[in-house]
């Protein structure tokens, strides 16, 4: 063992893939999975790119694997819904080079629209799933996942969660590990790779046989570990939950830690159950393990005590399992019985100078119906803007708008709002749908020239690839024109008048209109601040209109006059435009 180094789970997955000689890393950004590829691209060797969406990423990764490369595909949990189509059939057809899909769940919904438990995908698609619990295991399991994929001719899922992906822990690196690209020759094999029904029927059976072989392989011994310390009570757990179990109960109870959560090692489960008197299953989210363990005829308890919603932690386990008479190690008392009540909330908000602010301010004033989408701009739904009616999923902006328009009063249009990255992800198809079926939809692209919320990733609209290499810059305006929009109104994100006029024009237009609101994310490198703004105390009537912008740079001073924090002000000038009393102006003009 060489040096110990600190990795996040995501960095560790990248390290494991690199050590496995991965040829392609491809995915779509999504918290908490994004940094896997950002870490992999810093390493010499593999081709690492952002795909336009998760389905595309998995298909391209699958193609690379069929061609003989090892491919790592990354996405967040909901991304696998998008990529589910190729996943299910790729499982039948199998691979050539190894294919590993690292997919990060977000229990507790820190930065997600749902907390679906993706372990069911493994069962549903019949794809082996490994679940590491810390960074060291992320490295090891990723390497193993490639081996399993090739040895058993099947894609492999690596299930991460926020507390693994975004946790830092020590990893012992083997000295002298270097990158050696693993490749296999490509051989045309239509019976294997062409999913015609006749072929698929054969492959269906082969998949089952491959899973049977995996169940009997000795790799299971490496992934699933039994710690027998107590003949009375035994805990079955996996992934992040294992950490909470160890922290809460130490070695007090026997533990079976499953590293392979599909297919389940039935022999080991039965052996473990035979070695303890009582079995408790501890898992975050759904009773996935519990359901299957019960189906094996093993008596066990779990969700009877443990919440099936939100994240777990050692204290939740200790508390909920008191009823099951499990004794925690730590008996310290809390400082307070309850959280301090009635504190003002602190929701996330648009940054000062954010190019999304102006559109939502105008949308609120114009009282338009808005079907939103996933991105920083979803914050347009909360006060003070409250200018969004729906937000469901990536690409749902234009399409939900199309449906929503059907039962509105005659002549009313719905504005579908997506970001630039979302437009390329799956907004495009919705824009085509709206034209095709003549829906009363105004597609709006809030183009801030980056995938912002996940921390600035390139996309087809930025003109750069993941590593910054220039590529053809695809323009949403030209795409709108090509698919049948008569007019594309392009407005500046910082010009309220322009935005307002575009909304009004689109509302009354008899032909097909799309809107693009342009302004780069102000956190991007090289984006210049505007001049600083200040409130003229004599002109201010304390009407508080400027506060309705929800700008973190503006707040009420103790005397009731809004004040602009010069350090926080980005100089976007929107507050000057909403002040009816001309009490806000640039600092320079004042002098």
């Amino acid at each position: 063992m060489g040096d110990k180094i600190v990795f996040t789970g995501n960095e560790a997955v990248a390290q494991g893939a690199w050590e496995a000689g991965v040829g392609l890393g491809i995915g779509y950004p999504g918290t908490p999975s994004t940094e896997i590829l950002e870490s992999l691209t810093k390493k010499e060797g593999p081709d690492v790119v952002w795909a336009v969406n998760e389905k595309v990423a998995l298909e391209e990764g699958y193609g690379a694997a069929v061609g003989g490369l090892r491919a790592l595909v990354t996405m967040k949990h909901v991304g696998l819904n998008v990529a589910a189509d190729p996943l299910f059939t790729a499982a039948y057809l199998g691979v050539n080079g190894g294919l590993v899909i690292a997919c990060a769940d977000d229990p507790g919904m820190h930065s997600s629209q749902n907390e679906q438990d993706n372990r069911w995908y493994a069962l549903h698609a019949k794809v082996p799933m490994l679940e590491p619990s810390n960074s060291e295991e992320c490295v090891r399991f990723t390497r193993l996942a490639f081996e399993i994929s090739e040895n058993f001719d099947v894609p492999v899922l690596l299930r991460l969660v926020t507390r693994v992906s975004h946790s830092r822990s020590l990893v012992g690196l083997h000295p002298g590990v270097s990158y050696r690209k693993e490749t296999k020759p490509y051989q045309r094999n239509t019976e294997k790779y062409v999913a015609l029904p006749a072929n698929a029927r054969l492959r269906r059976k082969i998949l089952e046989l491959n899973l049977v072989s995996l169940r009997q392989d000795e790799v299971l011994q490496e992934l699933n570990v039994m710690e027998i310390t107590n003949p009375e009570i035994g805990i079955i757990t996996s992934g992040a939950s294992y950490n909470y179990v160890k922290e809460a109960f130490g070695d007090n109870y026997s533990i079976l830690k499953l590293g392979l959560v599909y297919p389940l090692d039935t022999r080991m489960l039965k052996e473990f159950a035979a070695r303890v008197k009582r079995v408790v299953v501890i898992e975050e989210l759904d009773p996935y393990l519990e359901t299957h363990i019960k189906a094996l005829g093993i008596e066990c308890e779990g969700k009877k005590y443990i919440p099936a919603m939100y994240e777990l932690n050692p204290q939740i386990l200790a508390r909920s399992l008191e009823q099951a008479e499990l004794k925690p190690l730590d008996s310290s008392e809390p400082a307070l019985k309850e959280p301090v009540p009635d504190l003002p909330k602190r929701p996330p908000l648009f940054c000062s100078g954010c190019p999304h602010r102006g559109f939502f301010y105008a949308a609120n004033r114009e009282k338009i119906t808005v079907a939103g989408d996933i991105g920083c701009y979803t914050l347009g739904a909360i006060p003070p803007f409250q200018a969004m009616d729906t937000c469901v999923c990536m690409g749902g902006g234009f399409t939900v708008a199309a449906g929503l328009s059907l039962n509105l009063p005659a002549g009313e249009k719905v504005f579908g709002v997506v970001g630039d990255s979302t437009f390329f992800h799956s907004g495009l198809t919705g824009a085509a749908e709206a034209i095709y079926n003549k829906r009363s939809v105004i597609p709006v692209v809030l183009d801030n020239s980056i995938t912002a919320m996940t921390g600035h990733q390139q996309n087809p609209g930025t003109g750069c690839m993941l590593d910054g290499e220039p590529t053809f810059l695809q323009e949403p305006a030209k795409i709108f024109e090509a698919i049948g929009y008569d007019r594309v109104l392009q407005v500046s994100a910082y010009d309220l008048e322009q935005i307002r006029n575009a909304i009004r024009e689109a509302k009354k237009a008899t032909n097909k209109v799309a809107i693009i609101v342009k302004g780069p994310c102000r956190l991007l490198k090289g984006v210049q601040r505007g001049p600083g703004y200040a409130v003229n105390l004599e002109a201010c009537t304390k009407c508080k209109s400027c506060l309705k912008m929800g700008c973190p740079a503006i707040s009420l001073s103790p005397d009731g006059v809004p004040a602009i924090d010069p350090a926080a002000c980005f100089g976007c000038g929107l507050c000057e435009q909403v002040c009816r009393h001309k009490a806000i102006s640039t600092i320079k003009q004042e002098e």
Partner: protein
């Protein structure tokens, strides 16, 4: 062995530099030979929202997070956030709080007022409470962004880990060269605050 584990919880507002704080602390603890696990938040929470990072260290650590009532030390870079998370402390736990007030959205829009009694409220809890002037010191130093490292200096002193490793060196290697000096000075100032 188990009882020696400690959990530090860092809270503040997205953009205050909690991730850097955690990175420097983690590096220092690891250099000192501790087992460390930490967890951080990314994504939407970072957009000016309430953010939380936890660092658990000891001889052997499994979980990167603890739940309510289980943290040993809470470090808050903002007053309101200190009140929001104080219930994560154990009885007799320690709270280091920068006295900086950052209005949140309902306060900015005038719907609610910034609570006035936070210091009093926190003083009345079963904890050791240290209100600090870290951001004021950072401004004196010439860069408000050094508040996080000033608070780190205070925390390291409080944990009794000052002599364990070369903290100024670890601070230096974690920040851009241009900011190394000011952050080293910030770290030293922080140590004098407690």
């Amino acid at each position: 062995m188990k009882k020696d584990n400690k959990t530090v919880m860092l809270v503040g507002v997205g953009g205050q530099g909690l991730v850097l704080f955690a990175k420097v602390l983690t590096t220092g603890l690891i250099t000192a030979g501790y087992d460390v696990k930490s967890s951080e938040q990314h994504g939407m929470a970072q957009r000016g929202g309430s953010v939380v990072t936890q660092i658990c260290f000891g001889q052997k650590v499994y979980s990167p997070v603890v739940g309510e009532g289980a943290a040993d030390i809470l470090v808050s870079l903002e007053k309101l956030e200190a009140a929001r998370y104080v219930h994560f402390l154990k009885k007799n736990g320690t709270l280091l709080m920068d006295e900086k007030e950052i209005p949140s959205l309902p306060i900015i829009t005038g719907v609610q007022k910034y609570p006035e009694n936070i210091n009093e409220l926190l003083s009345n809890q079963a904890i050791s409470f240290y209100p600090l002037q870290a951001s004021a010191k950072a401004e004196e130093l010439g860069d408000a962004r050094t508040t996080n490292i000033i608070m780190l200096g205070a925390l390291v002193k409080m944990l009794g880990l000052t002599e364990l490793v070369d903290w100024p060196e670890i601070v230096t290697s974690a920040v851009k060269a241009d900011f190394a000096d000011i952050n080293r000075r910030g770290f030293a100032i922080g140590a004098c605050l407690v």
